[in-house]
Point group: D4
Chain length 250, copies 8
């Protein structure tokens, strides 16, 4: 019990009350003005803080990445990383890699997957691939082995069924779909592991930039499906990895 | 050419200009104050006017039905017919039949289906059956033979596939689904005839009383699917019958 | 009965169980990584798979088209085909044609229409023409004869009525309208064949990019109307052709 | 110029400054706690204040009506008047009349219409009649002669055209429609006077209790159409009467 | 009675039945392929057809304008006329005028206003002026005298009240406002003539490009207010002119 | 510095580390299973926790009230208190008072207002009074003197202006309005103190149960206006009291 | 490989081709007309089919439950089970239990949880408890040990933090919240296991019956959160159990 | 009493009735055609009129600013001031300052804050800073001392708590957040002063450009929170300053 240890140390005179108070109040982050970099997120969440690149300048991204690099262990990841930010990061970090389809920049080695690790990412169409790649690269960086099944939408159901051997081995499945968002329900009806559904903004007219797919997925008649935000490949990859890493060999 | 015939009759003095004008202007409907009963709809549309029962009193419904019965041929149909209206109609029309699951009242014999007639009505769940029955009874009354496949949603895909022999013989297919509305896309991917999708208000929360299913069906990735209003079984049955009756034996 | 034939062949020793299993599992598609090209869609759906060009690179489109061209019969069609993709396709396929108003690229000859084939495409305004052309070219490519009646909106009803001779001969009618989307209801009240309504994103303010027209068409008081997605000319043309091709001469 | 007259009276000593100030500040309303009854609305608006009955108790309605009756001239009108309130009003005001279809209670004689007065109220269906009656009774009470054309929706266009003689004589036309709300556009294309469109909550599913009709009317392709709130028959009758009363004989 | 005259002429042998039929069927429009120009709109509506420029090419606009110019009397008006279209029109029509703030191009002289004509256009803010100008120029072209009161929103109510002398003389008032759209209610509470409210897309965030203003105006607690589409200055000017031209001197 | 004091006490041996840890972790609430009653909210927020009665049984409300009564000082307040809950509370708490128009039950004396305290609550109409009363009783209970100005909507602006003497003395003003929600903008343009706008669900049709008023208020062109949830009189009264109590005499 | 075995049996003449075909096509469900009971769902999904009680009659529910009881192993569960249905089930199944707060009826023993099983269900308020109970009972029936932390919303953050010892031990956390739905973000920031967020319809006004909470949860800035439908406690409990059962001891 | 004084002057013959009338009617604004500059807003509102720069040309902004500069005291402020407008203003006003992050241009010295003045502006993330700066610069210009706490969102709650010393001293707190908008609820649970919540358009997908954050903040379970429009930093800063300036030292 940390607090108790600390208090016993105070009682025993090993540290002064003033020091104890400082420790109790010490900020587990580094304030750089435009951001408070959370250097202890790994302890709370099991993963280093991930930088959400949208709405930040390349300079801001580089500065936050530098703080994380110096103060944390594990791979630093920047999502929604535009090409200009990727260039700036590449200059600063020689071991950085830009996954352009996924718009993710990683600094440092990805976590090594366990032996039985297996996440499966399925898309309904070709246009859903960028979001799927964001999910796949996120899960891979955080330590999962990933299978990709792309363009297996319900208009040609046999394309999905032909990959059953693959997706039935997964410990968590990510299904990425736009338009009517029907694929997660079909997959969810066939498997016994959690399905994370990702609506995409693929479509036109009454797809309302992904809202229709989102609502559709929310109302799935299959069990075991939960949903993340439109185009949120990162979120899905993160959750799938959480589940994958903690799953016991069956 | 009717108008020309009429004009030639005028020229030939067979009828007076005044009579001709009266004929040209003659109203092809009977005005009963609260309604203008369209007695020539059969000529234009191929079917007798159908009475939409919602928002009308039993007395109004009986009066309109009486006008249609006297002035048109073919079966008179009342949709969205509440039980009180059905009772009032039963008293007035001895040959009337109340299809209670479908909430349709019919007066007179349904049209006889052609030899190859075949419409198929599929539902995703048990709760969708009332809407499906509205569609089925409509199509039957207008002259189609109807197959029903109920509770064949995508959560258990094999239930649908087991009925493939049935739905592959249909000339038009009606798919009725609430919640995420995924079933029409799956059916649409398997068949070569038009699919009429009917969203239902079955579901809760973000199903928004059928809006989610409607939007989902609108965005189907399968070809050959068109959509009618939420819970509009009548509309779907009407269209399916239109297609069925005009289809050549293949 | 294919499966039974196959099993009898196994029993008779004509093919080995291993071969039979391979055939039963054989994927009726060609996987090229970013797409699983559905080479048997013609068998299931009666038409070759159509390539939806939006969200795909010109290279991807050319590659998918090449696979279809080699592995299927019938005309290959690319919808939502931007001019860059059309250029790339033109280089690759010498018999390709770009229908620029419709944004459709076709490779190979359209199917020959039957003698009585007749689809009618009506627009409310001039701005609806591109969507109407997508519908018309789709139906023509798939084997329908198409009549076009453009700019016949309800603000000047006589313009529509003057074309009655034309649209009364159609076996299926496509009505394309933006703004308030009232035209399908008026047409639907005059004809006895299915009307496929296409809302367009034409309008401003509270037209909400076609949503108002879509909702309006959904709620039509005329029978025989079903609706496809906003600006989905392809979908309407596809369905109209389905109906047209199967209709018996009346 | 009232203020100047008053000031001249002050200057001339006819009234004291204190009296003048009191007059300048005098409240042109009577405060009864839960309401400030606007006794000078007739001067500003040309009509006595109308009591909106919804959300008020019968007692409140009677009390407001009494204040208006004593302090204003002209007919007192209560809209959205439930039957309980109508009963309470009937007891209090012997010359009161309850128009039950319109849910309007009037006290005192309606204004006498001018010789050429003519407002026309058209409905698409039978279920729209209550809203149409609210409009008609409002216009009649305020001094218009009203023609009613009910159940003339676009599904049977000839029913509308048969009444052209009537609606072409109107000085202002009110069109009441639910569902897809297409009728105002059709009427608006045929007439040269202002059309006030009233969406109704008639319909189901994607009619969204009148929202679809409202949006549809807003986007009319015909000129000369403006729109009031869903089911707001009163508002439409009020405006039509404003126009009717001020129109010169043509 | 035209039809009767015609029929009597047939009877009297003055014209042949064939000619009579042709006349009865004669299209009161000129079909130029992409448009059916309505050359008799003036007769039905009291004004020449107005060309809605959005979504049409400069060439299409010039061609339609030429047809109208040759076949109708009165000023030809093009709304939503972009500068390129205005240039093309200027070359073709020497007497054309481009009202750039209003984005309206007019060809020919505006109708002369009657002596007592008076329409008032009021805006809430400076940013609403382009929509107000569209309304004002429309009304002026169709024959109204127009007063403009700009930037008189409710945040500084005295600015509106200071112009009361002006707006109290109007026969119809147009109120143009974005953001919360409160101004029509305030104006409507002060005047006895119809108020046409025009919501604008001015604002940000939860103004939803004019939807908030539209809904607000729809729900006005003041009587005598009707609403047109967001940014639809033309529609408001058209209606105000309709009312203004027919109003008798009071 | 409390923590430091505590640690010094540990160091000095005045309390044991175990005791100190208990105090540091002590829960400042009382857990009764279905609720964790926050007995220190007064310290953090300046007011005792308020019980939101909706969705709780009378028994639950009584139990929570009892816990608060025993463990806190100051008046206990239950909002959205239905009459059954009020009865149950009345039996338990002899000094309880039920403010039925406001649907608030208070136990104990309200806080005494300071000498210059002054909050003003204004409504647009009579139907808005229940929400206004919730606001007024909340502010009174928490220690404000409240002026009520009811039925002063913009349709009769003079009714508002006649009360200027009253509302210009307020330190915070609550404006309660449904329908178009225009009143806060008008009030906000006249005063120099914060205006808290409360949209109400009063209205019909496109008022969407208060959404229109909410959006309208959000987009006010006047400065100094912030908004609370639809019908949230409590929230407005709470904030107005916060401001009132802390305002210095001007 | 089952299919291969079967084919080898055909080859070896152990079974006839006809029998083999029957087996290949055998329906893994029992069709009772209004439902196709999925008796093999346990094999595919790891759990017996769950009966969704809403929209089904008590008779239908009893019949489906009977089929499942006879043809599957494991506990049969009925969700959204109204009290009438519960009564009917109680009569039929002596070992049935009705969890009334959760509206779940279970027949048979719940699955025994593993030693380290631990799911935590947290609610923001007291009114969220019914949904939370649906989640908790679902997870318990399917084999999880469940901790409940109720009424720990962000308005009093210390109430949540005081239970950290409990929720930090969970393998999956369900957070149930209405109104603004902020609690999942706060919990998600503190834990390293998946959080399943359940929006509830608790709230009023702009909570839009749970839509606001749903959207809020969708946009969480914390990682590891996915969302199920409004009030879908069952779905959340199902997923949490899936994760819990497969998690290795850490 | 001004009016009384004036009237007494009339009575005493000190000024003529005509002069008195002119004074009574004198416009407290300067009309420059496209704008009516409100030169007495300071008297009514306590602050000089603020120019909203969006939708105005640089020339219009400069002209309005010049009028205000000449006719009012106090600092002139232009919000939503694009860089081109800022350049034009800089040329005209040598003492002008452009706060580029806040997009505000100020002319003249800000008001001096009182000794105890203290407003706190907190953001959830880095991308919210521009809106926060608009709030902060507004409050500073109008006379508040401002503390900034940026990037303290709920995903890392300790970052907020570490700044408690700062925000607990504020007299009014502005919380700026996009995405799920949860931060105001958490802050509101910890403080006893009014919290003004500003939703921002930061986020993607189902954040709907700030609508989700707006709705979330509207439904906060914490007391003392009111909301302004999406991205309306100015409005929040204005209100916070109103409260701050009038607060008594506690």
């Amino acid at each position: 019990m940390d607090t108790l240890d600390l208090l016993n140390s105070v009682k025993d005179g090993k540290i002064t009350p003033e020091e104890a108070e400082r420790i109790l109040r010490m900020k587990p982050f580094i304030d750089i003005g435009f951001a408070k970099v959370d250097t202890q997120r790994d302890i709370r969440k099991g993963n280093t803080e991930v930088i959400y690149g949208a709405g930040k300048t390349p300079e801001q991204i580089v500065e936050i990445a530098s703080v994380l690099r110096k103060n944390t262990e594990g791979c630093v990841m920047v999502t929604r990383c535009a090409s200009e930010a990727a260039e700036a990061l590449s200059k600063e970090f020689k071991d950085g890699v830009y996954h352009d389809k996924a718009r993710i920049f990683t600094i440092g080695s990805p976590r090594t997957p366990s032996e039985n690790s297996r996440v499966c990412v399925i898309t309904a169409g070709t246009s859903d691939i960028p979001v799927a790649e964001e999910a796949a690269v996120t899960a891979e960086t955080l330590g999962s082995r990933v299978d990709r099944i792309y363009d297996a939408g319900v208009a040609g159901l046999h394309r999905l069924l032909a990959s059953a051997d693959t997706f039935l081995q997964a410990r968590a499945i990510i299904v990425v779909a736009g338009m009517e968002g029907a694929l997660p329900s079909v997959v969810g009806g066939l498997v016994s592991v959690p399905v994370i559904a990702v609506p995409t903004s693929v479509g036109y007219g009454a797809s309302f930039e992904g809202l229709t797919a989102l609502l559709s997925m929310m109302n799935s008649c299959s069990s075991g499906i939960s949903v993340v935000n439109i185009d949120n490949g990162f979120g899905a990859g993160y959750i799938a990895n959480m589940i994958d890493r903690r799953t016991a060999p069956q």
